[in-house]
Each structure stands twice: as C-alpha cells, then as structure tokens.
Subunit: 148 residues, 2 copies
C-alpha cells in the first residue's frame, strides 16, 4: 500500500543546503525562530488560503526532498548516542515528511511571509494547517533531549 | 511530481467511523483529550521507537484514508460559512495528511498506548515525532475560530 502526495507549493528560504541550518535548533528553539522566508503556494491551490490571515501560527508539512536515507535510528546533532528515529526530528526516516510550526507575518496573494523557517530553499510544501489550542501542550517531558 | 508514503503502523481507536468523532473538538480541545487508543507500529519499524518512552507527547502524522474528496474550501462543524481548507483541519484537502498531538501513556513493544485520539479505527500512521518546546507556541491568534 502506497499513499501519494503532490506538492502544493514551495519554500523560499535563506538556507540553500541542509548544512546551512543551525544544528542547535534541536535544543535551542530561539535559534531559528527569527529566520524569515516565504511559502509560495501554487496558483491552483490559492483558493485554499482564504481566511488564513487570521491565524498567527501555521503548521507546515513538507517533504524532506534532499534525504535519500530511511534510517530507523538517528544520530542527533552534537550527540554521541544514536536514538530511535521516531524519538527524533531527523530528516532520514521511513516517510520523508517534515513538520515545522511557523509564524505568519503576512499574506500577499499566494505568498505567505513567515518566520521560524528551518527548511531549505526549494522544499516542497505538502500541507498547511492552522495552529490552534489543540496543538498547545504544557508540562511536556522531553526524554533524551533533557539530558543534553 | 508525486511523493510516495507507506504506512508504518495503524491506529486502534474507539471511533469506528468519522461520524463517531465529537464535532466540537475543533472548538473545545478538552472534548477529545481523554480519548484513549493505541498506535500499533509494524514490526519492521519497531527499532525506530527506541527512546520514545521519555517523551510525554507525540506528533502523529496519519492518512485521512476514508476521505475521497480534495476540496479547497471546507465547511467547519456547526458553521454556516465555508473557509479556505488551509485555514481548517478538514480531512478533505489536497494532500490527505492529518496531524494530531497525543499524550503517550505507555509503550509495550510495538504498541503505544496514547490519549487524545481523534482518528478512526484502522487509520494508517505515517510518522511519529517527539513533541518538543519548538512546537509550543504562545500568544496565538485563531482567526475565524475566535468568532465562533
């Protein structure tokens, strides 16, 4: 059984290649939150952006299109131990889907200017969802990240 | 260009069909947070679950496998107005991917017992990611939802 997805847009990012993305964003959220970029939504999907201006934050699902590796373990940045891939945000995973919450700065037609980008230039966008109170979880435990 | 994904597991849920899911979960997060279920991860991906026990909350990406509709607008529950689909969590969207944050109760081998389920029985799981501080956004604006 295979499930097929198509890009609905593309990310424009100051990061040209995966190595440009600050490694410490895994442990230090503030390190990438100011990074601005654009989501360019393809014209045939623009109608789906209606009403999006009202939301301050958006969930972006995208394809890790530069990854050719599907590992079950991952080696987090600056760590010596490997971890189960589902306990990491590694791009090298069984399904190459990434998820990042960005802040919406403004919308101009089919262009969304956002901050909090940690994707590279040319990343295919698969979906956009409004970030709502159901996504705000408090009192979280962070497993191996807490030991860093 | 098409991107292909494969299920890594399956959701076991008290909800048998989409109509069983409480409609008000869109506006009232508490309405589905206590709902318990299981994520059964297929044996060939079990190694990827290592270290997951340390995290209190998990991001589940899944396929809206019962949806056969790809709309650009959506009619949110109990609403008269339609909205752009990317400003809603509607299952009827260009790429049939859902995202829900669940609480991890316990892990038994390849079974994750979780709460906060709003998927139906048999939903294909595509990915699991740890929910971390980068996913906690405060001072959010909720657009049309705030007017409900």
């Amino acid at each position: 059984m295979n499930i097929r997805f198509k890009p609905i847009g593309v990310v424009h990012s100051p990061f040209r290649k995966p190595q440009d993305i600050p490694k410490k964003r895994v442990y230090d959220t503030q390190s990438y939150e100011p990074v601005e970029g654009e989501l360019e939504i393809f014209a045939e999907f623009q109608e789906g952006l209606k009403d999006i201006e009202g939301f301050s934050h958006l969930i972006i699902l995208f394809s890790f299109h530069k990854s050719r590796q599907e590992h079950l373990t991952a080696h987090p940045p600056c760590q010596t131990k490997t971890r189960g891939v589902f306990a990491t945000r590694s791009p090298h995973r069984p399904n190459l889907i990434g998820m990042t919450v960005v802040r919406l700065i403004e919308r101009n037609g089919k262009i969304l200017r956002v901050s909090g980008i940690d994707m590279i230039e040319g990343t295919p966008v698969l979906d956009i969802k409004p970030y709502t109170s159901r996504d705000q979880k408090m009192d979280i435990r962070l497993g191996w990240i807490e030991t860093v």
